[in-house]
Amino acid sequence: MRISIKVQTKIFDAASEANTLRSGIALTGALVEFTGFVRDVSEGSQVSAMYLEHYPGMTEKSLHNIAEQAISRWQVFGVSVIHRVGRLGPAEPIVYVAVIGEHRREAFEACEFIMDFLKKDAPFWKKEWNEKDEAQWVAAKESDESAVARW
Protein backbone atom coordinates (compact mmCIF):
# COMPACT_ATOMS: atom_id res chain seq x y z
CA MET A 1 0.00 0.00 0.00
CA ARG A 2 1.30 3.37 -0.95
CA ILE A 3 0.05 6.62 0.52
CA SER A 4 1.49 9.94 -0.51
CA ILE A 5 0.19 13.16 1.04
CA LYS A 6 1.52 16.54 -0.01
CA VAL A 7 0.46 20.00 1.11
CA GLN A 8 2.33 22.57 -0.92
CA THR A 9 2.26 26.07 -2.39
CA LYS A 10 3.76 25.17 -5.75
CA ILE A 11 1.89 23.80 -8.72
CA PHE A 12 1.99 20.02 -9.20
CA ASP A 13 2.57 17.65 -12.08
CA ALA A 14 -0.22 15.08 -12.20
CA ALA A 15 1.55 12.88 -14.76
CA SER A 16 4.68 12.36 -12.69
CA GLU A 17 2.59 11.82 -9.57
CA ALA A 18 0.59 9.09 -11.28
CA ASN A 19 3.74 7.44 -12.61
CA THR A 20 5.31 7.32 -9.15
CA LEU A 21 2.14 5.80 -7.74
CA ARG A 22 2.01 3.08 -10.39
CA SER A 23 5.68 2.18 -10.49
CA GLY A 24 6.29 -1.47 -9.77
CA ILE A 25 2.70 -2.50 -9.10
CA ALA A 26 2.08 -5.20 -11.69
CA LEU A 27 -1.64 -5.53 -11.17
CA THR A 28 -2.51 -1.89 -11.75
CA GLY A 29 -5.37 -2.06 -14.19
CA ALA A 30 -7.05 1.20 -13.28
CA LEU A 31 -5.98 4.73 -12.44
CA VAL A 32 -8.61 7.27 -11.43
CA GLU A 33 -7.57 10.89 -11.01
CA PHE A 34 -9.51 13.89 -9.80
CA THR A 35 -8.26 17.44 -10.18
CA GLY A 36 -10.10 20.44 -8.74
CA PHE A 37 -9.50 23.92 -10.15
CA VAL A 38 -10.07 27.53 -9.12
CA ARG A 39 -13.05 28.58 -11.20
CA ASP A 40 -12.72 31.87 -13.08
CA VAL A 41 -16.28 32.69 -12.10
CA SER A 42 -17.90 32.21 -8.69
CA GLU A 43 -21.51 33.10 -7.97
CA GLY A 44 -21.66 35.29 -11.05
CA SER A 45 -18.59 37.41 -10.41
CA GLN A 46 -15.07 37.08 -11.74
CA VAL A 47 -12.54 35.51 -9.39
CA SER A 48 -9.21 37.34 -9.56
CA ALA A 49 -7.38 35.35 -6.92
CA MET A 50 -7.81 32.80 -4.16
CA TYR A 51 -5.96 32.20 -0.93
CA LEU A 52 -5.95 28.85 0.82
CA GLU A 53 -5.31 28.82 4.54
CA HIS A 54 -4.83 25.53 6.37
CA TYR A 55 -3.98 24.07 9.78
CA PRO A 56 -0.41 22.75 9.42
CA GLY A 57 -0.03 19.38 11.07
CA MET A 58 -3.72 18.61 11.29
CA THR A 59 -4.06 18.91 7.51
CA GLU A 60 -1.58 16.11 6.81
CA LYS A 61 -2.98 13.90 9.58
CA SER A 62 -6.50 14.37 8.31
CA LEU A 63 -5.63 13.56 4.68
CA HIS A 64 -3.61 10.52 5.72
CA ASN A 65 -6.47 9.24 7.78
CA ILE A 66 -8.94 9.63 4.89
CA ALA A 67 -6.56 7.82 2.51
CA GLU A 68 -6.16 4.95 4.98
CA GLN A 69 -9.89 4.59 5.32
CA ALA A 70 -10.26 4.38 1.54
CA ILE A 71 -7.56 1.71 1.33
CA SER A 72 -9.11 -0.36 4.09
CA ARG A 73 -12.50 -0.18 2.44
CA TRP A 74 -11.74 -0.82 -1.23
CA GLN A 75 -9.33 -3.11 -3.02
CA VAL A 76 -6.95 -0.34 -4.07
CA PHE A 77 -3.14 -0.33 -4.01
CA GLY A 78 -2.19 3.29 -3.70
CA VAL A 79 -3.47 6.80 -3.03
CA SER A 80 -1.84 10.12 -3.73
CA VAL A 81 -3.28 13.42 -2.48
CA ILE A 82 -1.86 16.84 -3.23
CA HIS A 83 -3.51 19.97 -1.86
CA ARG A 84 -2.19 23.42 -2.55
CA VAL A 85 -2.17 26.26 -0.03
CA GLY A 86 -1.37 29.97 -0.25
CA ARG A 87 -2.25 32.28 -3.13
CA LEU A 88 -3.67 30.74 -6.32
CA GLY A 89 -4.72 32.33 -9.60
CA PRO A 90 -7.88 31.62 -11.63
CA ALA A 91 -7.97 28.25 -13.39
CA GLU A 92 -5.04 26.94 -11.35
CA PRO A 93 -5.32 23.43 -9.89
CA ILE A 94 -6.05 23.28 -6.14
CA VAL A 95 -6.34 19.62 -5.38
CA TYR A 96 -5.35 16.30 -6.93
CA VAL A 97 -6.38 12.82 -5.83
CA ALA A 98 -5.14 9.70 -7.62
CA VAL A 99 -6.11 6.13 -6.83
CA ILE A 100 -4.73 2.96 -8.42
CA GLY A 101 -6.29 -0.45 -8.21
CA GLU A 102 -6.93 -3.61 -10.12
CA HIS A 103 -10.49 -2.72 -11.09
CA ARG A 104 -12.03 0.56 -12.15
CA ARG A 105 -15.14 0.48 -10.02
CA GLU A 106 -13.20 0.33 -6.76
CA ALA A 107 -10.73 2.99 -7.87
CA PHE A 108 -13.61 5.32 -8.83
CA GLU A 109 -15.37 4.83 -5.51
CA ALA A 110 -12.23 5.25 -3.41
CA CYS A 111 -11.38 8.46 -5.26
CA GLU A 112 -14.86 9.92 -4.73
CA PHE A 113 -14.82 8.87 -1.09
CA ILE A 114 -11.52 10.67 -0.52
CA MET A 115 -12.77 13.88 -2.14
CA ASP A 116 -16.04 13.79 -0.21
CA PHE A 117 -14.28 13.45 3.14
CA LEU A 118 -11.54 15.89 2.24
CA LYS A 119 -14.21 18.54 1.60
CA LYS A 120 -15.84 17.87 4.93
CA ASP A 121 -12.95 17.11 7.31
CA ALA A 122 -9.65 18.48 6.03
CA PRO A 123 -8.83 21.88 7.59
CA PHE A 124 -8.55 24.14 4.53
CA TRP A 125 -10.28 27.47 4.09
CA LYS A 126 -10.67 29.41 0.86
CA LYS A 127 -10.73 33.16 0.55
CA GLU A 128 -11.66 34.67 -2.82
CA TRP A 129 -10.97 38.07 -4.34
CA ASN A 130 -13.35 39.42 -6.97
CA GLU A 131 -12.42 41.80 -9.80
CA LYS A 132 -12.89 44.84 -7.52
CA ASP A 133 -10.33 43.24 -5.21
CA GLU A 134 -12.89 42.62 -2.47
CA ALA A 135 -12.05 39.57 -0.39
CA GLN A 136 -14.41 37.12 1.19
CA TRP A 137 -14.22 33.73 2.83
CA VAL A 138 -15.95 31.06 0.78
CA ALA A 139 -18.98 29.66 2.61
CA ALA A 140 -19.18 25.94 3.22
CA LYS A 141 -21.75 24.20 1.06
CA GLU A 142 -24.56 22.17 2.51
CA SER A 143 -23.94 19.66 -0.28
CA ASP A 144 -20.39 19.02 0.95
CA GLU A 145 -21.74 18.21 4.37
CA SER A 146 -24.33 15.80 2.98
CA ALA A 147 -22.09 14.17 0.34
CA VAL A 148 -20.46 11.90 2.92
CA ALA A 149 -23.78 10.45 4.02
CA ARG A 150 -23.75 7.89 1.21
CA TRP A 151 -20.54 6.18 2.38
Partner: protein
Protein backbone atom coordinates in the same frame (compact mmCIF):
# COMPACT_ATOMS: atom_id res chain seq x y z
CA UNK B 1 -3.30 24.18 33.80
CA UNK B 2 -2.40 25.77 30.47
CA UNK B 3 -4.31 25.15 27.24
CA UNK B 4 -3.03 26.32 23.85
CA UNK B 5 -5.77 27.66 21.63
CA UNK B 6 -5.49 28.27 17.87
CA UNK B 7 -7.86 30.19 15.60
CA UNK B 8 -8.13 29.83 11.82
CA UNK B 9 -9.63 31.59 8.81
CA UNK B 10 -12.61 33.87 9.53
CA UNK B 11 -12.46 33.01 13.24
CA UNK B 12 -8.85 34.19 13.37
CA UNK B 13 -9.69 37.37 11.44
CA UNK B 14 -12.64 38.27 13.62
CA UNK B 15 -10.67 37.45 16.75
CA UNK B 16 -7.70 39.53 15.61
CA UNK B 17 -5.28 36.93 16.95
CA UNK B 18 -4.00 33.55 15.68
CA UNK B 19 -4.09 31.97 19.11
CA UNK B 20 -3.64 32.37 22.84
CA UNK B 21 -2.97 30.38 25.99
CA UNK B 22 -5.42 30.21 28.85
CA UNK B 23 -4.94 29.00 32.36
CA UNK B 24 -7.84 26.94 33.65
CA UNK B 25 -8.37 25.23 36.98
CA UNK B 26 -9.51 21.78 35.93
CA UNK B 27 -10.36 19.60 32.93
CA UNK B 28 -13.22 21.01 30.96
CA UNK B 29 -15.13 20.43 27.74
CA UNK B 30 -14.87 22.58 24.60
CA UNK B 31 -18.18 24.10 25.64
CA UNK B 32 -16.72 24.98 29.04
CA UNK B 33 -13.67 26.54 27.42
CA UNK B 34 -15.91 28.70 25.22
CA UNK B 35 -17.76 29.89 28.36
CA UNK B 36 -14.49 30.91 30.02
CA UNK B 37 -13.28 32.74 26.89
CA UNK B 38 -16.64 34.43 26.39
CA UNK B 39 -16.42 35.92 29.88
CA UNK B 40 -13.64 38.11 28.46
CA UNK B 41 -16.31 39.91 26.37
CA UNK B 42 -15.96 40.84 22.70
CA UNK B 43 -14.83 39.54 20.25
CA UNK B 44 -14.82 36.12 22.00
CA UNK B 45 -18.45 36.37 22.94
CA UNK B 46 -19.82 36.75 19.41
CA UNK B 47 -17.19 34.81 17.47
CA UNK B 48 -17.40 31.71 19.66
CA UNK B 49 -21.19 31.71 19.80
CA UNK B 50 -21.44 30.94 16.09
CA UNK B 51 -23.46 27.73 15.80
CA UNK B 52 -21.29 26.51 12.91
CA UNK B 53 -18.05 26.81 14.91
CA UNK B 54 -15.89 23.68 14.73
CA UNK B 55 -13.37 22.46 17.27
CA UNK B 56 -10.31 20.22 16.94
CA UNK B 57 -8.49 18.74 19.92
CA UNK B 58 -4.88 17.69 19.28
CA UNK B 59 -5.44 18.06 15.54
CA UNK B 60 -8.44 15.75 15.37
CA UNK B 61 -11.97 16.90 14.71
CA UNK B 62 -13.81 16.86 18.05
CA UNK B 63 -17.16 17.72 19.51
CA UNK B 64 -17.79 20.56 21.94
CA UNK B 65 -18.67 17.95 24.55
CA UNK B 66 -15.23 16.30 24.38
CA UNK B 67 -12.94 16.78 27.36
CA UNK B 68 -9.78 18.91 27.27
CA UNK B 69 -6.81 18.14 29.53
CA UNK B 70 -3.48 19.75 30.31
CA UNK B 71 -1.21 20.19 27.31
CA UNK B 72 -3.97 19.74 24.71
CA UNK B 73 -3.90 21.82 21.56
CA UNK B 74 -7.38 23.18 20.92
CA UNK B 75 -8.38 24.87 17.67
CA UNK B 76 -11.53 26.76 16.76
CA UNK B 77 -12.43 27.40 13.14
CA UNK B 78 -15.32 27.75 10.69
CA UNK B 79 -16.58 24.89 8.47
CA UNK B 80 -13.81 23.80 6.11
CA UNK B 81 -13.87 24.70 2.40
CA UNK B 82 -10.91 22.97 0.76
CA UNK B 83 -10.77 20.83 -2.34
Amino acid sequence: MMIDILYFASVKERMGIAGESVDIEQSITGEGLIDILSDKGEPWLSVLSDSRLLVAINQEMASLEDGIVEGDEVAFFPPVTGG
